[in-house]
């Protein structure tokens, strides 16, 4: 199988380990990633506040480039990039006039053919294959943290349930993990306040870390570079806010699955995390016996 791939800036910089683990996992699943030629910024958190046309142009240009490369689907691991590209696609889907306008603006033909997929949607298709390839069952309690942009707004992402998403839970269950029921699946991590208002991030992300720890999770699993960085990079501020030292690691879903599939931790970029990834001994496998209840 071949699929288009849009890394975006984070995966080439602050979230290198995300790209490394995506590539390693996809290779293990025989999924070939075709990076969109000459891709550009998705507009990030600033373009759309400056100019709607600019934002739409930037987003659409990536999709047009993917079309030109003959791709039908594009995997976009970064949740923000995913949301931006998917939004552009939706905005133009039922509006041929606007589509033409944007195509003229970016100087590339654009038909709207390419579908945009996040990492969970793609991996969900391979759930059976992943389960079959497990070498080291990932027997931990995990807190599946989806954040905001992977599942919302529903009409844009057309994926999973917006309030209580399940796709990551299912994937981790498939490799032996035990996703905990918790309160913060889709709570805000503070997002781009990471730079300007670390106190806000410390407060919001702090609630997430605290709830995960309180419910005995061994790791928080994410699928978004921004979430990861707020929970990982901002851990000192978080711990200061909570007045407690929390060492719970924050893994990308691709890393957690990669570990289960026996991929080398170095290849998955685990060493790049700021909160060291130190997982305890896996929990023992629970065998449930069928008890026969006859009391006649």
């Amino acid at each position: 199988m071949r699929i288009g791939y849009y890394p975006g800036c984070s995966l080439k910089s602050s979230a290198r380990e995300y790209e490394e683990s995506v590539r390693a996992l996809c290779a293990a699943l025989d999924l070939e990633l075709v990076e969109i030629p000459d891709w550009n910024c998705c507009g990030a958190s600033s373009a759309h506040v400056m100019s709607a046309d600019l934002a739409l142009g930037l987003r659409t240009r990536n999709l047009a480039q993917a079309e030109a490369a003959g791709l039908d689907e594009v995997l976009t691991p970064c949740a923000a990039c995913f949301s931006h590209l998917a939004e552009a696609r939706m905005e133009l889907a039922d509006n041929p006039n606007k589509r033409q306008e944007v195509a003229d603006f970016i100087g590339l033909p654009y038909s709207g053919r390419v579908r945009v997929l996040n990492v969970l949607a793609v991996l969900d298709r391979y759930r059976d294959r992943i389960a079959a390839k497990v070498k080291n069952p990932f027997r931990y309690k995990v807190a599946c943290y989806y954040g905001c942009l992977l599942v919302r707004p529903p009409e844009v992402v057309q994926f999973d349930r917006p309030e209580n998403p399940q796709s990551m839970d299912r994937l981790l269950e498939a490799v032996g993990a035990k996703p905990i029921p918790w309160a913060c699946k889709t709570e805000c991590c503070g997002a781009s306040f990471s730079v300007t208002r670390t106190d806000v991030v410390a407060n919001l992300s702090g609630r997430i870390v605290a709830d995960a720890v309180k419910r005995n999770a061994a790791a928080i699993v994410v699928a978004c570079p921004m979430c990861q960085s707020n929970l990982d990079l901002r851990r000192p501020e978080i711990n200061q806010q909570l007045e407690q030292e929390h060492g719970i690691p924050v893994l990308y879903i691709t890393q957690a699955l990669g570990l289960a599939l026996g991929i080398d931790p170095q290849q998955l970029g685990l060493q790049r995390h700021l909160v060291p990834v130190e997982l305890p001994e896996p929990e023992p496998e629970v065998v449930t016996a069928d008890d026969d209840d006859d009391d006649d």
Binding site: P154, R161, P162, E163, N164, P165, Q166, P181, W182, A183, D294, D295, D296
Partner: protein
Amino acid sequence: MSRVGVFVCHCGENIGSTVDCPEVAERCKQMPGVVHAEDYKYLCSNPGQNKIKQAIKDHQLEGVVVAACSPRMHEPTFRRAVTDAGMNAYLCEVANLREHCSWVHEEADSTTEKAVDLVRLQLEKVKRNKPLQPIEVPITKTALVIGGGVAGIQAALDIADSGHKVILVERSPALGGHMAQLSETFPTLDCSQCILTPRMVDVSRHPNITLMTYSEVEHLDGFIGNFKATIRKRARKIDEELCTGCGECLQKCPSKDISDGFNEGLTTRRAIYVPFTQAVPNIPVIDVENCRHYQKKKCDRCVKACPTKAISFNQQDELIHVDVGAIVVATGYKVMSTEKFPEYGYGTYPDVITGLQFERYASASGPTQGVIKRPSDGKEPETVVFIACSGSRDAAKGVKYCSKICCMYTAKHAMLLKHKNHNSKAYVFYMDIRAAGKNYDEFVRRAIEEDGVKYIRGRVSRVYEEDGKLVVKGADTLLGGRPVEIKADLVVLATASLPNDGQSELARKLHVGCDEYGFLAEAHPKLKPVETNTAGIYLAGACQSPRDIPETVAQASAAAAKVAALLSRSHLTREPIVAEVNRRPAPLHSDCTGCFLCESACPYRAIGQEEILDRDGIVIKTIAKINPGLCQGCGTCVATCRTKAIDLHGFSNEQIFAEIMSL
């Protein structure tokens, strides 16, 4: 036929101002077969009709074309007029010069030209019309009511009181439906069972009502006035004649931990059980799935306990065939389960319950004798959050429609909680309060103002567990969308009302339609609200759409009135517009080849078989036969038949062919 009279109506100015009516009449005189043509100001008036009658006599007319308004308007009028003059009604056709011509075109030669063409079409048709006789259908004076909830009970009693026989079929072992489960009813807070139980007893005692519980409609054939229903009377495994309802057996049954459906799973029952204490009939039933006698082949404790030897393990389902003239469908609704709500934990938190479960707690005959408790630990909750519109008005996660009853019962629930436990706190998250109805809004205001129920306008985004409490997270949109978090002991979801289980299968069996949600469809939302598209089948209650008790009862009485009116007639007359398979001299017998490709094309399953026998009774040929009682005259079979062996009276091949050829 070649003695046709044409009558052109001016309809005052309506036709006359754009169509040159005298010219049309003049032109018609030239057409072959026309022996008389005239125009008149108002043909539908008495003098106008008299002109037609007179002309029929004067010119010995054999057919009439009235060129006037739409046949959908006055065809019956003119057909009645020709009948008065001794002509068969179906030898009169109407050309639509008003709605299809004068009103939609400007005054012009081409408009008059079109008018002439329209008359010519009908002229060519009427020349080939054949006299037809209305079909008379006898009526079986018994009604079938499907469903023994309050709708079915009301309909059955009303029909029975009007002097007709009723067969009431209920799927569960006892009458009562959801109403029997309810605690108090809004807006009067009178006890549901207290008002329902006497009606249930009335049903069981009524000389005109045959009650069949634990039974389902298996199959339906026939048509209005003449339905043939097959009812599966499921084996209770109890001899109903012998059982006295003493209840000895109930205590002895060792299979105990079976979820009790009447109590919405809040308690357990045994494998032999009566759904509830006041059940009508008060006869137990054995739940074969859970009975040790059937599952493990080794228990007969109930047999030993029964003083009248009424337990009958070998009892089998019975198929009972009944003839009925009319049917009332009153199959009710069900509520969406809590598992449908991911944001509220997919049904994993035991203390997130449905409104119906709350009813059982609040009911004096419920598992806690009316004390509000919570399922997880049986404690009385201090803080209860009610979430209205759980699944209703929510296209993304539930259903698009409003479930209608929830606003009122949620107010009632909150009120009951406060009445039963004065120290408790009740919160209601709502979208809008829909309390239209007699004394309804006053009731809600009372909950808010007198009983201090806190109403929060906003949606709940999530319910999660923390430190033994359920944290309900929502927003108060009246306070600018401020987030609200309430730590609750019990959360009650006013879950959406859904079409009952098996309703679409039943609809298929009965040949009635469903709407996009699966509720049964009425024939017309305004003018035929209790009729279905299948003549003789009527609707009552929540099987049609969510509705409360007063509305349900009113509709049940309406359906009953329709049925009573139908059954009080001696026979039905139907338009003779039906299809027929032709017959030919031997050796062909019919153009029908007996391929039966038409059979599945008939929407009414009106096509059966007919065997043509020789003198010795040997089958020469099997051909299709159309039951004129079932046929509604759509003509789909006619268009399907390759050999044109089937034709439709009133719209025959010859008639339509002639119409086309006149163009």
